[in-house]
């Protein structure tokens, strides 16, 4: 049996203690604790659907060792949506712009987009495409996903929303 490690971390604003296998990824640890908006698409960092914010930075949680997250803060798309107005607005923008088809890449896409906007990302389609290039989508052709992030970036630039 693999060695267990106890980690304390903040997940979506809540202090939690997880007992995880020492080799377990953050993605697996979150999913084992029913944080199901963190999806598993490849488990080797190629698809990006498991993207979460770790201490404010977008990371692929399947490539992040859970044990190394002891004492750190994790936000997922779902958690952000209920607590962070910017992410909530980005989620709405995904609906308005028709950016959601099967929805499986969506949580990771929104976290990647939210991280971009929180770090001062501009309403610039090329820059947005670059920032989501680690997140694969097979349904949309990306146009409407870029539309949604662009729309919210524009709202921030026009002072209608704060990043």
């Amino acid at each position: 049996m693999s060695e267990k490690v106890k980690i304390r971390l903040k997940v979506n604003g809540e202090d939690v203690t997880y007992e995880v296998d020492a080799h377990m990824s953050l993605m697996r640890a979150l999913r084992e604790h029913y944080v199901w908006d963190v999806k598993c698409g490849c488990e080797v960092g190629e698809c990006g659907t498991c993207t979460v914010l770790l201490d404010g930075q977008a990371v692929k949680s399947c490539l992040t060792l859970a044990a190394a997250c002891d004492g750190h803060e994790v936000w997922t798309n779902k958690g952000l949506g209920y607590r962070d107005p910017l992410t909530a607005r980005l989620q709405e923008a995904f609906v308005e712009c028709g950016s959601v088809q099967c929805g499986f890449c969506t949580p990771g896409m929104i976290v990647a987009g939210a991280a971009y906007l929180k770090h001062g990302g501009k309403a610039d389609r090329a820059a947005i495409k670059n920032i989501i290039s680690g997140n694969l989508c097979r349904c949309t052709g990306y146009v409407k996903i870029v539309d949604a992030i662009y729309l919210v970036a524009k709202e921030i630039e026009e002072g209608r929303l704060t990043a």
């Binding site: 598993c40 490849c42 949506g81 088809q101 929805g103 499986f104 929104i110 989508c137 949309t140």
Partner: protein, 771 residues
């Protein structure tokens, strides 16, 4: 038909979009149950072998392992493949479905044994402990080789590797060549194409309190529950799939995936079992788009009138039949392209090989032949000294023109208009020879006609039900598997439109085999056409009842009344009205029926004579045209896609966002197929079994797709809609390669996929890598 549509065509939010955006949607993997076990499949070590024996004793002895099953444990290990059709078609169209391996192993994806254990790690451990006695054999990996006399026989059940042979002929092909001033001939190869949905296959199963095998598996074909029941030796009523939305399908979740495995493990262990395939297992195991070897010979007069098209196709069916015969029908049917051609000969053959099996992938046999005939068109134009657009303009089919089978498509053909629009958009400014950075620029336009709706000899049907709730809301039930295209939401939009309600007033309950009416498969670009028409019909029945009720209350004949804004009102004086909810209440008080189910049937035909296919095979066609601009680096052979123009006649958009989403997504789904998306098959082994080796486009790799959507109203779907899901990905692949050809000025190395930078560079240098 209603003239003033309020909801239809609008980009209204889908019922499930917010839940998906908020991360609330639970997919196949997002579910656990108390006392649950994990399941795993042991796959073959070899692509070709004879299975001499299996010893499972060590695996069974491992603590925590609860079941190790092999073919002898399967009640009925073999069945005839069914794909949700309502008719036994027979005649070589239905192949063997074998659950676990016996006799000859046909490919690496063959399932040898099933394991259920306490953890996924234990499942893997147990699989390693299963001792399989293989006798590896040579195998055959090229369908052209497989069809030769004396070839290695792939299966132990068939006397030949041939799956099917079919033919379409019209005119006199042999006599036609003498009248041609220009003839071009070419060999083409199209690679197996991976669906690459972000969600792999998987799901859960358990026995309910009445012993019903209950599955929670996202699939494109709910009707596989019947196959599971047959395999298990149970009545159809004893297997239920309460399915969930898929994280993408594209045809790859059309064949049965984990359903039977779960049923077997659940029955053996009497505990809930979850099985999720890894990305590697998914890429190596599930069906691919058929690789096709095509030979084309096209002849025309000097003024550019195509006289003859001779095509031979050899399709790699891989290890099992699955949907090969259906896909072959589509390839054969579409092989001559959307051009008037008086003399045609199309012969197609399919064969078993020891490769991963081939089956449905978005486009279903259409894109392979489209790649070849559109490459031919550009070569022919070159030879005739005409522009490729002009050659197409002179030969496109128009309304009333027959297909090579003699069938005249019933729906509108907007291709002539689409071609002009794409030409205008692509060539709005003159093409520069080079970009400022020195890269050569190329442009190209390609056309396609793609069927929607299933083969008409399958006698397709769909059912939808509606229940009026007493508060004036509406419950819609449909066994529509939703793979992300907005299939269910469009049905709500149709019902809301017809009943004068908002889309939020209609809630869909979908895809439960035993609680929703069976709406048929989410395949063949059929749901909007089939279930959309069923929903329209169902809403019509309800509307009739409510109008009668209102007529009785208001004292005006039904013909003077209309429905809208949650009211039933007098057309000439809308102030005379009753609320929708009041009409429902009255209908209920009078003992009227608040619930109804209706069925829509597609046109029915008989199974064609495969040696001479004539007449109608599909309900209708959707027409597309793609324009592409590329920049090619002559130093490296690398290319960049600068522009994509995607044009389609959608007939009528039901949901603007959903329709555009298909057109944009379809273009990007196929844009890398001819060049980057290569599974690197080597003698039955998939070398590219990850997303870092199987290269599909990221957002940074592709331009924004520029969409042109016509609404001719000339489709067979509700409000004149046509299907757009699969057509959206046709005609872009040849446009990409033809644009590269336009940039580099040679056809060398651009005919056999994958067209890699190495091949492009060699083409520029005059080095032939294809012969």
């Amino acid at each position: 038909m209603k003239k003033n549509l309020k909801l239809i065509g609008n980009p209204v939010p889908r019922h499930d979009a917010l839940a998906k955006a908020k991360g609330e949607q639970l997919y196949s993997d997002d579910w656990v149950m108390p006392n649950m076990l994990y399941g795993k499949v042991l796959r073959s070590k070899y692509p070709a072998a004879i299975l001499r024996g299996i010893d499972t004793s060590k695996a069974e002895a491992l603590p925590g392992v609860h079941a190790v099953l092999t073919a002898k444990d399967v009640p009925h290990n073999e069945d005839i493949s069914k794909f949700g059709q309502m008719r036994d078609v027979g005649g070589g169209f239905e192949g063997l479905y074998k659950v676990l391996a016996t006799g000859k192993i046909r490919s690496k994806s063959e399932a040898i044994a099933l394991v259920a254990a306490e953890t996924e790690e234990l499942c893997e451990e147990a699989c390693k402990l299963i001792e399989v006695d293989y006798e590896p054999t040579e195998g055959v990996y090229d369908p052209r080789e497989a069809l030769k006399d004396g070839a290695y026989l792939v299966s132990s059940e068939d006397a030949s590797n041939r799956i099917m042979r079919s033919k379409i002929e019209c005119g006199d092909i042999d006599a036609a060549w003498a009248q041609c001033d220009a003839i071009v001939e070419g060999d083409y190869f199209t690679t197996p194409h991976e669906h690459a949905y972000i969600e792999t296959e998987g799901g859960m199963g358990w026995l309910d309190e009445n012993g019903v095998i209950t599955l929670r598996v996202g699939v494109q074909v709910l009707e596989h529950y019947r196959t599971v029941a047959k395999i298990m030796g149970l009545q159809h009523t004893k297997v239920r799939n309460m399915s969930v939305p898929m994280g993408g399908g594209f045809g790859g979740k059309e064949d049965i995936t984990v359903e039977t495995y779960l049923a077997l493990l659940v029955t053996k262990t009497r505990r809930p079992v979850k099985m999720i395939w890894s990305r590697e297992e998914s890429l190596e195991t599930h069906a691919k788009r058929h690789p096709e070897y095509l030979h084309y010979k096209t002849g025309a007069t000097k003024d550019g009138k195509i006289l003859a098209q001779e095509v031979s196709i050899v399709m790699d069916g891989g290890s099992y039949t699955y949907l090969t015969p259906w896909v072959q029908m589509y390839s054969t049917y579409a092989a001559a392209g959307p051009y008037n051609t008086p003399n045609v000969s199309i012969v197609s053959e399919s064969a078993f090989t020891n490769n991963t099996f081939s089956s449905a992938n978005r486009g279903f046999g259409g894109p392979q032949v489209n790649f070849a005939h559109e490459r031919q068109m550009d070569k022919l134009a070159q030879k005739l000294g005409l522009s490729p657009v002009e050659l197409r303009r002179r030969n496109l089919m128009h309304n009333g023109d027959p297909l090579p089978t003699g069938f005249i498509p019933q729906g509108h053909n907007a291709l002539p208009e689409l071609l002009e629009k794409v030409d205008k958009a692509l060539n709005a400014s003159p093409k520069p020879e080079r970009l400022p950075d020195g890269r050569k620029v190329g442009r190209s336009i390609a056309c396609a006609h793609t069927v929607y709706g299933r083969l008409t000899f399958m006698h397709d049907s769909s059912r939808v039900s509606i229940r009026l709730e007493l508060d004036g809301s509406v419950t819609l039930r449909a066994g529509v598997p939703d793979l992300g295209g907005g299939q269910a939401s469009s049905l709500c939009q149709i019902v809301a439109e017809e009943l004068g309600l908002d889309i939020t007033d209609v809630h869909p309950y979908i895809m439960d085999t035993h609680l929703t009416p069976l709406s048929g498969t989410t395949t063949a670009t059929r749901q909007l056409y089939m279930s959309g028409n069923a929903a329209l019909k169902c809403a019509g029945v309800m509307k009739g009842r409510l109008m009668e009720t209102a007529s009785g209350i208001l004292g005006y004949p039904v013909s003077n009344l209309a429905m809208g804004d949650h009211k039933i009102y007098l057309v000439n004086d809308p102030a005379v009205n009753i609320p929708f909810v009041k009409a429902v209440a009255n209908l209920s008080n009078d003992g009227g029926e608040l619930e109804t189910i209706t069925q829509f049937n597609a046109p029915f035909t008989e199974v064609p004579d495969l040696s001479n296919i004539k007449g109608q095979l599909n309900p209708d066609l959707t027409y597309t045209c793609h324009g592409v601009e590329v920049a090619v680096d002559e130093e490296t052979g690398e290319f960049e896609i600068l522009r994509i123009i995607a044009a389609i006649d959608a007939g009528k958009m039901i949901n603007k966002n959903s329709c555009e989403g298909q057109v944009e997504g379809g273009a990007i789904y196929h844009v890398f197929w001819p060049t980057h998306e290569d599974l690197k098959w080597e003698k039955g082994i998939t070398r590219a079994n990850s997303f870092s080796t199987y290269i599909m486009p990221t957002a940074a790799d592709v331009p924004d797709v520029e969409t042109i959507i016509l609404e001719s109203g000339g489709g067979l779907g509700p409000y004149g809609a046509k299907g757009v899901g699969e057509p959206s990905d046709n005609s872009i692949a040849p446009a990409v390669v033809n644009a590269i050809r336009d940039a580099i000025g040679t056809d060398l190395n651009l005919n056999l996929m994958p067209v890699t930078p190495e091949k492009i560079l060699n083409a520029i240098r005059g080095v032939d890598m294809e012969h």
